[in-house]
Amino acid sequence: MIRVALPTGDLRKDTAALLDASGIGIEDYAAGSRALRFPMLGGDGAIARVFREKDIPVQVALGNYDIGICSLTWIEELAQRFPSHEVMRVRDLGFGAHALWLGAAGDEAEASLRIVSEYPNIADAIARRMRLRRYRVFPVWGAAEAYPPEDADVALIAAPDAAAVEAHGLRAIGCVLESSAWLIANKHSLATRDLSPVLSRLLGGGGASTSAPALRVPASLSMREAAPRPARTRLRLALPDGHAQSHTIAALKMAGVRVFEYEDGAAVRRPRIDVDGVEVKVIRPQDMPQQVAIGQFDLAVTGRDWLFDHLVQFPSSPVEEIVDLRRSIYGLAVIVKDVQADSVAGALKEWRARSDAPIRVASEYPNIADHFARERHFGRYSVIAIQGASEGFVPEDAEILIEGIDTGSSVRANKLTVLERFFESTNCVIANKQRPEGAMRATYDALVETLRRGAAEPVAAASGGA
């Protein structure tokens, strides 16, 4: 069986068209079906599975899939960290053009340059090759363009051109990678298996280059070291975007705090709050614990799950939960499929009896997954950090999925089994244990008290997250 990893998201339409033109079209995939697996070649000899793009090179490198289609940026992101991985770049498919750009808000930087990106491995490689004297890379789930200048000196972001970088209010330093969709294959599969029923069709129509562009490293960032920043005089509050936004809006409303251009669900990065001495930035909830730990924000509204993920990675981090907002309720659970056992320990025995291969734990919470596997004495295991489309991972691509679940309807719909629900998550306010000093302290205490009072109000309809 030839296993093919196909992208969801931006590349889906063009990929479906390519499959059609190659004579191996998948009608439901082209139609945007929510299904995650599709038979190919009439169900005989090949199967396609839909992933978030970032997961595709990882899955092909692991050998779970023989062939994949995804952006060069994600292939390069994997290659920069794991140079001897098993991914062969077969051909540029000529669609999905975009680029990675370095941008800065100004021409000054901290002595330890702060680089923010969804592509931390590429950012790290560029910093090394530029011989930057001292730098830090903040890996983020999104909104990297919103970090400079307050929360980062340089952002590495996906953008079509310099104008798009500048539209974010950043100075375009340089394009570091021209990207497009690429056909990739697992090297071992290429060397040992006949992939031609799919591969030769995909290559049949010719296409663009077979030589991937290399990283272009700018000669200089054209930045000088900034003088030490004066102490902040305004309290900084981070609010989440995405699914968590509606729950946060409800919590703020209950506390009587107005955040204009946020409370109506808008996607504004720096909304205005009706509390004097406070400024707000909207970023991903996943990224907040680290930002609070390094003192960029005094308070942040995130989920207990992301705080837990941060604290198991950095046990001495100075971040703590100070107000439970009691919304966005769901649990982190161990999910499996086609397992007889009704406990994690039993499932471990079952897998160990079958094979001594590493137990694959897939999760959007890689640090929690790692922590869980260590605590439960998994023995030989590997954690596969994933971006989404998670219900499709077990049992083919992982033995265990660690995932946030609400009512469990999605689990049931996919005929999955919850072995254990081991952590309860709600949204919460987090803070650095080092409280603000001086004039900001009164503002801080007042805002925390307001949020705490709001959280004490009855929650009308507790609503779930994942």
Partner: protein, 411 residues
């Protein structure tokens, strides 16, 4: 549990078995003995160091930096990464700048491992013995390092050794004369190191007025002072910036020749060109590099200290332990295994008493026979009479008193 044939080692990591450890310790012990005799003192630096120590320009090349094991520590929420040390000189420079810098010369040595990712099947963990001579020691320091390295290698009885010398100032002067930036110089040096002499043509094309036979530098491996004089004549007059490097090299070579060392001069010698500021040394044995080092006067400043000149070298233990012959067991050495005939706590205790008594006589005595014991004698202990029987391949003798056993066995 997986079977014994299932590899459980992490890829690229190497076990050192007892025979290899004996040879490794032989090198370390010989090295430490010589270093102490020359007035050097031992240090050990942490396995984990901050990444930024190694990212400073002029410390490690980008190619090496791409191979370091870097990660976020348990308290790495600030985003600053740490590394498993990929090199020992930079940590030693950091240690000096942080703990020892009092304006006086520091003479330090170490024996420790370094980690670099490789994907060619070679080990990702390497053991090195090294020396750091930090402070203004001038050319005398360069001479001392070469002689110290040779003396440390002497007891190892290696196959034929070659001492190769160069001076970073030579290539730097040539490439700078061609108007190359620091980055261009590094790239050109790497090409030269790979044997690409078209760089020389490029330099000559950039500065045609030079009219100097640059290929003399790059195509010929010279044999000591005579070669340096051959270079000095035609080159130093055309390119005066070469003179200081050639002068320093000539001094070192002449001093070594006076000590009976015949160094080979090789202009392009070591990777990590940016690292070195003066003399570069490489010693080969059996065709393998066993020592590399040189002068790196800018390093202490780059890791945050004052500008203090420094130089050093490292012995590479992997090729060394492959080349040395394990020390033979001393002729006539007696290795005794003491055993109990029967059980019971009193008898087991008596075995250890007997072993201790015999060890006190300078004998090698084991109470448990292991796979490497190879005993020459066995002493059987029992509760009845005779209390002891000493057995050897072609005889045996019975005793009532341990002192009598010791008298028979003592050398």
């Amino acid at each position: 549990m997986p079977g014994a044939t299932t590899p459980q080692r992490s890829r690229g990591m190497r076990d050192l078995l007892p025979d290899e450890m004996e040879r490794l310790r032989a090198v370390e012990d010989a090295f430490a003995l010589v270093c102490r005799a020359w007035g050097y003192r031992e240090i050990r630096t942490p396995v984990i160091e901050p990444l930024h120590l190694f990212t400073a320009a002029g410390t490690l090349s980008p190619q090496t930096l791409d191979r370091v094991y870097s990660f976020l520590d348990w308290d790495g929420w600030s985003g600053e990464r740490v590394v498993l040390r990929p090199d020992s000189t930079i940590p030693a420079a950091r240690l000096y700048a942080e703990r020892l810098d009092g304006g006086r010369i520091a003479k330090l040595f170490y024996s420790q491992n370094v980690f670099r990712f490789t994907d060619d099947g070679s080990s990702r963990e390497e053991w090195q013995c090294g020396v750091e001579l930090i402070g203004d020691t001038g050319t005398g320091g360069d001479i001392e390092l070469v002689l110290l390295a040779l003396e440390a290698l002497k007891p190892l009885k290696l196959p034929e050794m070659t001492v190769r010398l160069s001076h970073a100032g030579i290539v730097r002067a040539v490439l700078a004369a061609a108007g190359m930036s620091a980055e261009e110089q590094s790239a050109a040096y790497d090409r030269l190191l790979d044997g690409d002499l078209s760089v020389v043509d490029e330099v000559e094309a950039r500065v045609p007025q030079l009219n100097a036979p640059l290929r003399l530098l790059f195509e010929v491996e010279g044999g000591g002072s005579g070669y340096i004089e051959n270079l000095r004549g035609p080159l130093a007059s055309a390119m005066p910036s070469l003179a200081p490097a050639l002068d320093e090299l000539a001094t070192v070579v002449a001093a070594l020749e006076a000590q009976g060392v015949a160094p080979v001069i090789q202009t392009v010698l070591a990777r990590n060109f940016e690292y070195y500021s003066g003399l570069i040394v490489r010693i080969e044995a059996g065709g393998q590099r066993v020592v590399a080092g040189g002068r790196y006067d800018d390093l202490i400043g780059l890791v945050g200290g004052r500008h203090v000149p420094a130089s050093g070298f490292a012995l590479y233990l992997t090729p060394l332990i492959e080349q040395i012959t394990p020390a033979a067991r001393p002729a006539g050495e007696r290795r005794i295994v003491v055993q109990a005939e029967g059980g019971g706590p009193a008898l087991l205790s008596a075995v250890y008493d007997a072993a201790a008594r015999l060890r006190a006589s300078g004998l090698r005595v084991e109470a448990i026979e292991g796979m490497h014991s190879a005993p020459t004698h066995r002493l059987i202990c029992r509760e009845g009479s005779p209390k002891f029987t000493l057995v050897w391949p072609d005889g045996s003798e019975q005793f009532e008193r341990l002192d009598d056993v010791a008298r028979v066995l003592e050398p």
